[in-house]
Subunit: 278 residues, 2 copies
């Protein structure tokens, strides 16, 4: 091997993007202490760079009811009023985020809890009022995400744990869907890292028949997704998740898997869930 080859190889390896897992989990794990414990043990055991994005669960509704904060709907769409943004800031950004971070620290995973305004990691804009005023809901400014701040955390061994809250840069917290945060973040960091985006939920993946966990579709491409969507067989709640996922792989994210929270390590090693391909 010549020194030129050797140098060439070194340079090549230096430019090779490192793997980064972005893993989103939701209410079904958050609401059940035992499921959460198992999930966090699995998450902590994953080697290499990783980010956890979490939403809230039923606990926000329960605490909201005790505080007299009624869920607010207009035309069937949930509205985030003043009381609700304070509630989710407390519950998602405080109670849940810190419980997860403390649990991960006890598992030797050097977690750091983040919301949108922290180090300005997730800048957003309050959703403009068209027919409905959604209240304090944020659409992420994807171009405004600074990959360098994420890299600072990741390259120093920190594991970001992101609650589904953004901010408007004017002093207001904003409520943002956790699936969307995971997908937008994956796109923004895909220039720096080889991204594997994993959406965890209560089903084994995308199912041909929503009532049959064995009807798992191991691999889904845009064409077969269009056909499935046409047939109206898919569970309605999974559609935005799949749309987010296809959007991500169309924009630089290498791999997206959707599957069961209880099988996180199988989703990671490619033996579980539904893998999305273009």
């Amino acid at each position: 091997m010549t020194s030129k080859d050797s140098t060439g190889k070194a340079i090549h390896e230096g430019n090779k993007k490192q793997l980064l897992y972005i893993i989103k989990t939701g209410g079904n794990v958050i609401d059940d202490a035992e499921s959460l414990e198992v999930f966090l043990k699995d998450f902590a055991s994953i080697t290499g760079k990783k980010i956890l994005v979490h939403g809230g669960g039923k606990i926000a509704t329960t605490i909201g009811e005790k505080l007299g904060i009624e869920p607010n709907y207009i035309d069937g769409r949930r509205i985030t009023n003043d009381a609700t943004i304070d509630l989710v800031t407390m519950v998602y950004g405080g109670l849940l985020n810190k419980k997860i971070v403390a649990a991960l620290q006890s598992l030797q995973c050097n977690a750091i809890g983040l919301t949108g305004p922290d180090a300005n990691v997730l800048p957003a804009t309050k959703r403009p009022v068209k027919t409905i005023d959604y209240g304090w809901v944020g659409d992420i400014d994807s171009a405004g995400i600074d990959p360098a701040i994420w890299q600072l955390f990741l390259d120093n061994g920190l594991v970001p744990v992101v609650a589904s809250l953004t901010h408007d840069g004017l002093g207001h917290m904003l409520n943002t869907n956790a699936d969307t945060i995971a997908a937008v973040l994956a796109r923004a960091l895909s220039k720096l890292y080889h991204i594997k985006l994993v959406f965890c939920f209560e089903k084994n993946g995308v199912l041909e028949d929503v009532n049959d966990e064995h009807s798992l579709i191991a691999q889904l491409d845009t064409k077969s997704y269009a056909a499935l969507r046409e047939s109206k067989k898919l569970f309605a709640g999974i559609l935005p998740k799949i749309d987010n996922a296809f959007d991500a792989i169309s924009n630089g994210v290498e791999e997206v898997v959707i599957g069961n929270s209880r099988l996180l390590l199988q989703l990671i090693n490619g033996t579980g869930g539904t893998k999305l391909v273009l």
Copy 2:
């Protein structure tokens, strides 16, 4: 100038410790939206490296009452039971911390909210049960504080905003006094930085007569403090604050000032409050 001198100077400057402000604020500011706004504007305008440590305010009690969480006392000492640690984690670590961070971001101050488990910045131990079980109360493991993680944030232009919560490394959040956190952190970081520790509260500083804001003691040394303490003229609530402060300056912290939150910039520039000296 010889090249040796020049090199020597460079080395000297490289070793010179940079100034770091550690500023603690409390309930009187937190409870009043207008006071908080003014305080954060002042804080944001301070140039250079800085950390803000905040406690909670009456809002935790108000929210606790609505949730049916009664303040719990044994022999006049407040106890942090399961419900209370969840409450303060939500309110201090979520609602207040994120409101402060979002407000600072709107003032072009690159704040990052932290609690004990985040990046393990404040490791602690649950207070051992002697005569009283204080519940989920943490005594900081000062030797366990890693100055390098704080330096990573500070040297990258981030402004830590610390809620008065620590963790035990076993997955539990712990309630810790904000004055103590500020003092212990100041000691731990004094090896790396020239520390100015500022305790903000509702009075102008240490007063000879607690009812007369004009009886400010501009400078207090340990000897005159002992005499004042003896005379029992001092406001009882200020004693732990002063003890924390003297402990800090006995252990490497360069300067400690105690004074009014509304006069933060005067406390910073040395024209307000009580300066403590050994």
